[in-house]
């Protein structure tokens, strides 16, 4: 018993069961099966299997690193890795057995014995604690009957229906195929394969901890790049398709899947690059930092030029489908930059940002539409409406800000949330139907025309979004460093003290809401022009939440962070459309993970880094 109570075994058991539960859960909700559809490396591994093996690998590594201080030998670590691996497989194996014809009786047995076992356990505990035997017997009976009712009815259902998947929809043949690595027919071989795979991956995880830092990082980098390219094979192929000829492409991809040779080559190349960077990257960075100022400036200039060149040629580099994604990302970057004025700079938690987006979209739709709802057919075009949409959104922001100026924090958030809902309901209402079409929305919105050419492709719309983003970025940087920005910062920190500095907080907040609304209006107008139709159900609270989340994930009050946040939260789901059922689950998991591991966001602003790292210290010391 002692070995089970040691620290090591506790680590192994808890981590192993954690990853086991994860795999079981991912299987039961159908995630593994759905991900299996996408092959990462042709005829080698699918995304679903990768997901399954990633869990023991990760916990194997974590287990090894948690044991580092107990001076465990390499062999011990290996055994622990194997232990974690086997524990990962166990829950899934049990379910596999329950699911099979031969071992169905095990399920029946378990369901029938479970109430007795649980009741006896509790009764024994109470009895040992010195309870009255008659009471113990009564409790035993009660617990057994209560749990028994549930488990016996399940047993009955399974007996009648004969299959697990009548209750657990996703525990079906396809799932068995995936977890047994295509050994559905010979179940024992399948179970053995699964165990071997998880054990091996747990061991590899543990070994990974033993490898010195530089090669480890290189290997991780190599594996990461290979699997990412594989997982996003379709996207990568779309990009390469623009620049490579058909035959070369066929060498690399079989349809959308990376071929084995190509994957191997990619792995080797990226690992070697990663290794070189790990070895010499430090020197390189050191070399740059000790360079003369003028030289560094030249280097910075080259970097800037390269960046601008990539930005400008992006649609040509990535092709049509991805340009479309880029436009969507750009629209959200635009909104992120706008909302950041309210949230990041002035600390006003606005949960009704969708209001501005909707106002911009409907203004453009109604003013330019050539359909029956168009007000002034032909008088306005995209370019003349943009300033109108901007002003309209600002007005909306101003009006909605008026009643909530005196509110703070949570109350403000709830009030703005309400405004967002009101706009959604107004858009779909019968009252405004003659004007904006109710549930049918506004159709036939013409594309923008530039110098006589219609900008109908995403590649062309991309430039409109780019310009809008750059202008907004410029304005927001200037604002951040201005007297106005300082004023917002003071309000964010402490409204009373800000007043004591002579700041008119009401005016400053009004300004923040109004300016923040402006880009939302432009984003909405571009969105309407891009899609060509405007429906009320495009303007839900999810838009507000998305924009807020991308700011938080990227790093609050950080402009580069907003771009990264938009790429991760808006771009990735676009590329993972086929897994749309699990989109919000992954989204939620990512947000939770971020808040635990990196609450300051991907690219935090300086001030926020300080807040998160030293949060406790920042409160004024109570006493010296």
């Amino acid at each position: 018993m002692d070995i089970l109570r040691s620290e090591r075994s506790r680590i192994v058991v808890s981590l192993g069961l954690l990853s086991g539960a994860f795999i079981l859960f991912a299987g039961a909700v159908g995630m593994i099966e759905a991900f299996h559809e996408r092959e990462v490396v042709d005829k080698f591994i699918s995304l679903g299997q990768l997901l399954m093996l990633l869990a023991p690998f990760a916990v194997g590594f974590v287990a090894a690193s948690r044991m580092a201080h107990t001076d465990a030998s390499a062999l011990t670590l290996l055994v622990c890795g194997a232990g974690v691996g086997i524990l990962t497989a166990i829950p899934t194996v049990i379910l596999l057995l329950f699911n099979s014809e031969e071992f169905r009786f095990l399920l029946d047995l378990t369901l029938k014995l479970l109430p007795l076992a649980v009741a006896s356990y509790f009764a024994w505990q109470r009895y040992r604690a010195g309870a009255d035997p008659r009471l113990v017997a009564g409790a035993w009976l009660a617990i057994a009957v209560l749990i028994g009712i549930v488990t016996y009815s399940f047993a009955l259902v399974f007996e009648i229906k004969g299959e697990l998947r009548t209750v657990l929809v996703n525990i079906n043949r396809d799932w068995v195929d995936v977890v047994t690595f295509d050994h559905r027919k010979e179940l024992m071989t399948g179970i053995l394969t699964l165990c071997l795979a998880t054990v091996a991956s747990g061991c590899v995880g543990a070994i990974f901890h033993l490898i010195p830092d530089a090669p480890r990082r290189a290997l991780l980098y190599g594996l990461g790049v290979t699997f990412l390219v594989g997982a996003f094979g379709e996207t990568v192929r779309l990009i390469l398709q623009e620049h490579l000829d058909r035959d070369t492409l066929k060498e690399i991809f079989r349809r959308d899947t990376l071929r084995q040779n190509a994957a191997l080559a990619l792995f080797v190349v990226s690992t070697v690059t990663g290794f070189l960077w790990a070895m010499f990257g430090q020197n390189l960075r050191h070399g740059i930092s000790t360079m003369e100022y003028s030289q560094r400036r030249v280097l910075n200039g080259i970097g800037m030029l390269l960046f601008v060149a990539i930005l400008l040629s992006l649609p040509w580099l990535i092709g049509r489908t991805l340009s479309d994604v880029a436009v969507t990302i750009g629209i959200f970057v635009l909104m992120g930059l706008g909302l950041n004025i309210a949230i990041g700079l002035a600390g006003l938690l606005d949960l009704g940002y969708v209001t501005n987006y909707a106002v911009g979209a409907y203004i453009l739709a109604v003013l330019t539409s050539i359909g029956p709802l168009g007000l002034l057919k032909g008088t306005f075009n995209f370019w003349t409406v943009i300033p109108v949409a901007l002003l309209a959104a600002m007005t909306a922001g101003f009006i909605f800000a008026m009643p909530v100026l005196r509110m703070r924090g949570d109350y403000l958030a709830i009030a703005t949330l309400g405004f967002g809902e009101i706009i959604g309901k107004l858009a779909i209402s019968d009252w405004l139907k003659p004007l904006i079409g109710g549930a049918q929305g506004v159709q036939a919105i013409p594309k923008p025309v530039f110098l006589g050419a219609e900008l109908k492709n995403p590649e062309q719309l991309y430039y409109i979004v780019l310009v809008a983003c750059l202008v907004t970025l410029f304005v927001s940087i200037r604002l951040n460093n201005s007297r106005t920005g300082r004023q917002w910062m003071a309000i964010r920190e402490d409204e009373d003290v800000a007043t004591a500095m002579g700041i008119d907080t009401a005016r400053a907040k009004l300004l923040a809401f109004t300016l923040s609304a402006a880009t939302g209006g432009v984003a909405g107008a571009i969105f309407a022009a891009k899609v060509g139709t405007v429906f009320p159900n495009s303007f839900t609270v999810f838009i507000s939440i998305n924009v807020l989340s991308l700011i938080i994930v990227g790093g609050i009050a950080s402009n580069p962070g907003i771009v990264v946040g938009a790429i991760v939260l808006i771009g990735m789901p676009e590329l993972l459309r086929e897994f749309s059922d699990f989109r919000f689950m992954m989204y939620g998991a990512l947000l939770i993970l971020m808040m635990i591991k990196r609450p300051q966001g991907f690219i935090p602003s300086k001030i926020v880094t300080h807040e998160v790292r030293q949060g406790v210290k920042l409160k004024p010391a109570a006493a010296e």
Partner: protein, 236 residues
């Protein structure tokens, strides 16, 4: 004529009658101490004067002008500056940025000069000018809060419990500084629980008790007053 005149103000928190007709006056160049126990209405009085709260009855006159209905931020440009309770420095801004915020209402060119002045008054702040204010010690934060209040070039400085949460050895320093500021011609209204220290530097003092002025006298006399000695100075 008095620089600040408080005429029978009644201030409420909702239905709670916090100030029940408080009256006192502050002459130019004086240091006035408002002392009293917890809940006597000291901070409420200060918040009413600085415009964060509005009295239901009575008025506050400043420099011959009624200010009891003027917004807090407008008062700063009229020359009233406040050091809030618990210091209230902008924790995430640097020392220098905090001082800049203090000069928010000013648009003249002498801000740089005054920054130097603040640093010569508090050399510790100069050493830490690039440091984030939240990482300063409690005493340094108090210095920063006072220096920041001075950046708006006030004629009247309202200090709310400057000794709160400070070690005794630092409290001496804070009161010394207050004295020095007064010597430069700034009128000071000081709210303190530490009656002993406050009465040492003050010219006159008012004792507040459950929302009313109970005793008013010169600081020297208050120090000798039996009730004050017993209740606030802890001397039997």
């Amino acid at each position: 004529m008095a620089l600040l005149e408080v005429n029978g103000i009644h201030t409420y928190y909702g239905n709670i009658h916090a100030l029940k007709g408080v009256s006192f006056e502050v002459d130019t160049g004086e240091i006035i101490a408002l002392i009293g126990s917890n809940g006597a209405g000291k901070t409420t009085t200060l918040r009413t004067i600085s415009g964060l709260m509005t009295p239901r009855e009575g008025s506050v006159n400043y420099d011959g002008e009624v200010i009891s209905n003027t917004r807090a931020d407008m008062l700063v440009s009229k020359g009233i500056s406040m050091v809030p309770e618990g210091r209230g420095v902008f924790a995430k801004l640097t020392v220098e940025e905090n001082l800049d915020m203090g000069a928010y209402i000013r648009r003249d060119g002498a801000i740089k000069e005054d920054l130097k002045g603040a640093f010569s008054l508090f050399p510790r702040l100069q050493e830490r000018r690039k440091q984030v204010a939240g990482t300063l010690s409690g005493g340094e934060q108090q210095m920063l809060a006072i220096a920041r209040a001075l950046m708006s070039k006030p004629r009247l400085l309202l200090l709310d419990e400057p000794s709160m949460g400070l070690a005794p050895v630092l409290v001496d320093g804070v009161f010394e500084t207050v004295q020095r500021i007064a010597n430069e011609g700034v009128t000071i209204l000081l709210v303190e629980q530490n009656a002993h220290m406050a009465l040492q530097i003050a010219d006159r003092g008012y004792v507040l008790q459950s929302g009313e002025v109970a005793i008013s006298d010169t600081a020297a006399n208050l120090q000798k007053n039996e009730t004050v000695k017993k209740t606030y100075l802890g001397i039997d």
